[in-house]
């Protein structure tokens, strides 16, 4: 009895000692989180404080101008939005298909290994190099010119690795017994992928797409390299409007600018007032990212609600 209580006493001191680590680590974890959160808030706060004065409806509806008070981001946000649409339309199908191939079809061989290394390697290639590639291939080789299409394709290539990796992770999370269930029903491989793998991994894929898009929307260097403009005071043609009438896809080949370029240009201008514009544009850009993230979280929640293994 006494032996046991002495022993218990000992155990308790040990536990107390170890629990200090628990506490310490909790605090450390919170602190680490806070560093991230505070950095973001500082960044965001700075932009809000500096740029708040310029945020008005006109700011969204005006074209660039040499007068800071009249300059706006109309061509920039429209351009960014359209480029993102192209990027998503290309990166999502190609990235998801590649992820599905690697996870569901690829045999374990050298080619697969090469593709895998290759995908992670691409994630580390500086974005400007993508710009150089795209300039040679999309702009000149394919003759797409300095257009929304070229920019969208470039950014699509840039975020492809992220989409592929996210797709693979999401697919891996699907339990094997769901797959077996489908095959046991007589489904072919493609039917299994189409009816099960893709729908059930969509939430994870979406996360990857959004992370990728958030990166793409803030990219400057590759877009400048392929020839995005800085001053452009007109919008891409709406389908079936204008003189002469634009076709359904004419906007794809239109010249354009994007938010980060506009911002980049304003930050490098001598006048202080332009720096306010840059802050305001940065604020809008982060807001656009935030909206995308918000959508993703909401969609992910909706999609996951139905799926629990």
């Amino acid at each position: 009895m006494t032996a046991i209580s002495a022993n218990l006493q000992e155990i308790r001191t040990i536990i107390a000692r170890h629990k200090r680590w628990d506490l310490l680590f909790s605090l450390l974890g919170l602190a680490a989180l806070m560093i991230g959160v505070l950095t973001f808030l500082t960044l965001f706060g700075q932009m809000v404080i500096e740029g708040a004065g310029r945020l008005s409806l006109d700011f969204f509806l005006n074209f660039p101008s040499r007068r800071p008070e009249q300059a706006g981001i109309l061509s920039a946000w429209v351009g960014s939005t359209l480029v993102m649409v192209v990027t998503a339309l290309v990166a999502v199908p190609v990235g998801v298909a590649a992820g599905v191939y690697l996870e569901e079809y690829a045999p374990k061989n050298l080619l697969t290994d090469i593709i895998e290394i290759n995908v992670t390697n691409l994630a580390g290639v500086p974005s400007i190099v993508y710009g150089l590639l795209a300039l040679g291939i999309f702009v000149y080789q394919f003759g797409f010119g300095q257009s929304i299409l070229s920019a969208g394709l470039t950014l699509a290539l840039l975020i492809l690795p992220v989409v592929i990796v996210a797709t693979r992770e999401a697919i891996r999370a699907i339990p094997i017994h769901i797959r077996e269930g489908a095959y046991a029903c007589g489904a072919t491989q493609w039917q299994t992928v189409r009816d099960h793998i893709l729908p059930y991994s969509s939430a994870g894929i979406l996360t990857g797409v959004i992370i990728g898009m958030a990166r793409a929307i803030g990219e400057t260097a590759p877009i400048i390299t392929i020839g995005a403009l800085t001053f452009i005071a007109f919008l891409p043609p709406l389908p079936f409007t204008g003189e002469p009438t634009a076709g359904l896809f004419d906007w794809l080949t239109s010249p354009f600018t994007v938010m980060p370029i506009q911002m980049f240009n304003w930050t490098s201008r001598p006048e202080e007032a332009f720096h306010e514009n840059a802050a305001a544009a940065g604020f809008v850009l982060v807001l656009m990212t935030l909206t995308m993230n918000g959508m993703a979280i909401w969609l992910r929640y909706r999609l996951r609600k139905n799926i629990k293994w």
Partner: protein
């Protein structure tokens, strides 16, 4: 598709072209569209000599390589100087001793031999205090760099390498504004906008120190650091009415708009000479593919151009 005038090139020239484009579009009620890009003088010429743009903004004259490229593609062009950029040497406002620096002083600071050796103000001039010298300047890929080295060191691209280089002049502004021993150089407009944070140095080109100012540039006393900046117009494009109109508008409104965006307009004679060039179809460059420092711009425009 409605008519589009495509301009691309130097970031230094961009504010002027932007201002012109903005007013031109307004004047034409948007019947003509103008786009302006910034891919640097070099990137601009690359597109220009491929025939992709109508006009190229340039902060330096066209170089040999680029002349060859244009020639190969059969592209003839008009070279039109449109403004002065006065390179300004600036120091931290707390620096009270270096109000005037001679070209020789600057050369001592910036020449390649200075690398790692001239690191203190008192090495520049024994009367200066003992204070570390920190340098800020244009990136070695820029026209500003080429011009500054040519004018100060005497040889283009000849410079020490241990200084903070940036394409973005605001970065240089930040550097010198924060660094008591800092010295840097960049375009006049950045100095004008940041006068509170910076102090300009008077340049002694042999006839006493001269502070940069529009007057000093126009009357030629701010030498050798005033350099002309240009637009190059594709001769074939000029046959298109919208390009012709744009260029005419550009030359006509340049003096007003150049001043508005804080550059220094050229003497009005030069704009007239430009117009004459266009009417007489005098294509080509007068620089022969080289940087031209200290030459009087008026003389230059009357030189016979070569292609």
């Amino acid at each position: 598709q409605s008519a589009v005038v495509k301009v691309d090139g130097s970031s230094t020239v961009y504010p002027i072209t932007e201002a012109v484009a903005e007013d031109f579009q307004k004047a034409k009620k948007n019947a003509v569209k103008v786009t302006v890009g910034i891919s640097g003088t070099g990137g601009g010429f690359k597109k220009f000599c491929r025939g992709e743009t109508d006009i190229s903004d340039a902060s330096r004259p066209i170089l040999k390589k680029e002349m060859d490229a244009c020639k190969e593609a059969g592209i003839a062009y008009y070279e039109l100087p449109i403004a002065y950029d006065a390179l300004t040497v600036i120091v931290n406002p707390q620096n009270t001793f270096a109000s005037t620096l001679s070209v020789a002083d600057l050369k001592k600071i910036w020449e390649p031999a200075a690398q790692g050796k001239i690191t203190n103000w008192n090495q520049v001039n024994p009367s200066f205090p003992d204070m570390p010298l920190k340098l800020y300047g244009a990136g070695s890929d820029s026209g500003t760099f080429d011009y500054f080295t040519e004018a100060i060191v005497g040889k283009a691209k000849s410079s020490r390498g241990d200084y903070t280089a940036s394409e973005d002049d605001n970065v240089l502004v930040q550097g010198v504004a924060r660094d008591k021993g800092g010295l840097g150089y960049f375009g006049f407009a950045y100095y004008v906008e940041n006068q509170k944070k910076l102090k300009a140095v008077a340049i002694d080109g042999g006839k006493g120190g001269v502070l940069p100012s529009p007057q000093a540039v126009e009357n030629g006393t701010y030498s050798p650091l005033s350099r002309p900046i240009f637009i190059y117009v594709n001769a074939k494009s000029l046959d298109k009415p919208e390009v012709k109109e744009f260029v005419d508008f550009y030359l006509k409104n340049a003096p007003k708009l150049v001043k508005e965006v804080k550059y220094v307009p050229l003497p009005s004679k030069v704009y007239e000479a430009n117009t004459e060039r266009l009417t007489k179809k005098k294509v080509g460059t007068v620089f022969g593919g080289e940087e031209a420092v200290g030459m009087k711009i008026e003389e230059l425009v009357h030189r016979e151009a070569k292609l």
